[in-house]
Amino acid sequence: MSVLLQVEALSVSANDVTLLEPLSLSLKTGEALTILGETGAGKSLLVQAIMGLLPSPLQARGRVLLDGQDIGRLKPALRARLWGRQLAMLPQEPWHALDPLMPAEQQVAEVYRYVGGLSAPDALERSRQDLAGVGLAGAAERLPGHLSGGMAQRLAFCAATAGGAPIVLADEPTKGLDASRRDQVAALLRRARERGAVLTVTHNIEVARQLGGHILVMRDGRLVEQGEAEELLARPKDGYTRALIGADPQHWPDITPTDGAAREPVLTVRGLHKSRGGRLLFEGLHMTVGRGEIIGISGDSGCGKSSLGDILLGLLPADGGEIRRAPQIARHRYLKLYQDPPAAFAPGIPLGRLFDDLIGLHRLDRRRLAPLLQRLRLDPGLLQRTSVAVSGGELQRLAIARALLLEPLLLFADEPVSRLDPITAREVIALLVQSATEQDCAVLLVSHDLELLRKTCHHVVSLGGRA
């Protein structure tokens, strides 16, 4: 086997602060290398340094050898010529990498035409073959905005690999995808491995397991542990690796709160139906949510989980059916947690002032805040910062605190941890379930991860007909 890519003592620093400690690795033909670690571990920096895409204040040191040539010394223009032909990168958020105004097949055909040098009809033909190969034949003429997350990721994969590059670098390719879509992307990466080599950056243990090959575990820009996939995942030596593997919902202990006796209902739903864009999302939906009950809502992306939440909270009209709330309860006691924590706070304003606004508005007891923050393991000093200066996990816990301050009866949590890394996600979910139960607040927990719901909820409602 020939060595395709050799990285020697590659490090990344910004103004003398080392973000990625010197790291060496090599990638041979037919090999898969997976870099495992949480957000901020420097995984993406490594991929950007190999591609030559580091933003300007960051500097890479060390050598990146492609077929024996040190590409780190190349001029940017020459280096860019390698993209697509030698090195392909699968981006983290496909939406940002696709042209929103160009039909799917055109985006791939463009690569065949301008990188591969084919004629326009040939390029289109090859593009259609590729899209059919990943199950997108029916979506060839759609715009990216009309594709689901999984479809967009497959399209981005086709566009990235159409240049014929033997080395594929994938940066968190399964972020925000549900289990079945995630497995599809992993299958695509396995296929790319047969044609060359794949370097994947992920925090998802399951993806690492499916890709096999060699695994490097990273934390805070440092290599923690490495080994063959099966061996490392079965018998992790380092404590951090163990924590990372344990954070996968498969390995969670069951944290479902004990089910109490008969509960008075806070929300009753009868025969609810809703269509959107000419597509039926759900019909004949029946559901009763009792006080303090934890109910999971699962389903593929785009199946209407978020719409259901908005309907239940009265933010979106239903097409038919009946929603009954507990009588004589203020509107602000039915609340929502958002998928992207920073999106739910006013930016640039200290969080403490936002909490003060809320306490002032509802004339709440200020003394309740401190124990609540403590319960959610939050440092009160965080309140002096603005929402952008707080980590995603902390901000989501602050959002939980903000909601619980109002003593809600129902909390609709819309994928509250899908943007957090696994160890943080596990902590946030556990704290959410425990603290809500203590206040006797019902939680509707939406997730694409069925395993997570099974470990936390009293029962699970599936939308879109998939159990």
Binding site: H332, L335, A344, I349, D357, L361, L406
Partner: protein, 265 residues
């Protein structure tokens, strides 16, 4: 890495210093020098710079220092008035149209399209020709052109913010519309509005000078930059330094405001 002071970039800081210097010049002249910009001394045309007349005199022997300062005062006052008026109207309409949407939004957007269909200077000319030489008409005309930009930008930002999860979250927590405007919307629009204001001020200074130059703006003997240029133009051969003064003043005003508005990033 650019250095920052008062949250401004270096270029903006230069613009601020330039504008502040011009304001100081215009105000201090009024306080300390205080000569009548219209008083003639026909025996003394195009006098060179001297201790009593540091900028010389024009074709009628009028003090250029007094005339230039009066003209800068006039330009700054008009631009300030126009910016405040047009920004208030544009922002208020933009917020209402973006927040409420529906029929109100459609009516306001129709008004916007009508205003956009006419070239700005033509609209100002139209108002100016209704009552030639009237400061009020110029003010109304320029404001009627400038509000459009505020409306468009603020309406677009408001629509985005009003539909955002942060506003939805605040509404669900029980906060009213006024709170959402203060906490969520205002921080999002204040930056773009200030940028537009600086550009608007320079646009109104240019419009005033352009109208003066084609003799449909204010009437002589008012000291106005465009009018001064056209009056001094026939003498460019004899006294180029005098003609250069109003040109330089307009240039510095517009440069300062554009630097203040712009960012190199």
């Amino acid at each position: 890495m650019t250095r920052r002071l008062l949250g401004l970039r270096r270029g903006q800081l230069a613009g601020l210093v330039l504008i502040a210097a011009l304001v100081c010049f215009a105000l201090l002249e009024g306080l300390l020098h205080g000569a009548d910009p219209a008083s003639q001394d026909l025996a003394n045309p195009f006098a060179g710079p001297s201790l009593s007349e540091p900028l010389g005199t024009d074709q009628y022997g009028r003090s250029m220092l007094a005339r230039l300062a009066a003209a800068v005062r006039l330009s700054l006052a008009l631009s300030l008035l126009c910016v405040v008026t047009s920004a208030t109207i544009g922002v208020a309409m933009g917020v209402v149209a973006g927040w409420r949407q529906g029929l109100l939004d459609k009516c306001m957007s129709l008004l916007l399209n009508i205003a956009l269909a006419l070239p700005g200077l033509v609209l100002v000319l139209l108002f100016a020709s209704l009552a030639p030489g009237s400061f009020l008409m110029l003010y109304v005309g320029i404001s009627a052109v400038l509000w459009v930009e505020y409306f468009r930008v603020v309406r677009a930002i408001t629509r985005r913010v009003a539909a955002s999860p942060q506003v939805q979250a605040s509404r669900m927590l029980g906060f009213g519309a006024l709170y959402c405007v203060r906490r969520h919307l205002w921080p999002a629009i204040v930056g773009p509005v200030l940028t537009l204001a600086a550009f608007g001020a320079s646009a109104s200074i240019l419009a005033l000078a352009a109208l003066g130059f084609i003799a449909v703006g204010l009437r002589p003997p008012t000291a106005e930059l465009g009018l001064m240029m056209v009056e001094l133009f026939p003498y460019y051969n004899e006294a180029p330094w005098v003609l250069a003064q109003p040109i330089l003043a307009v240039f510095l005003l517009v440069l300062g405001l554009n630097l203040l508005a712009g960012g190199e990033e």
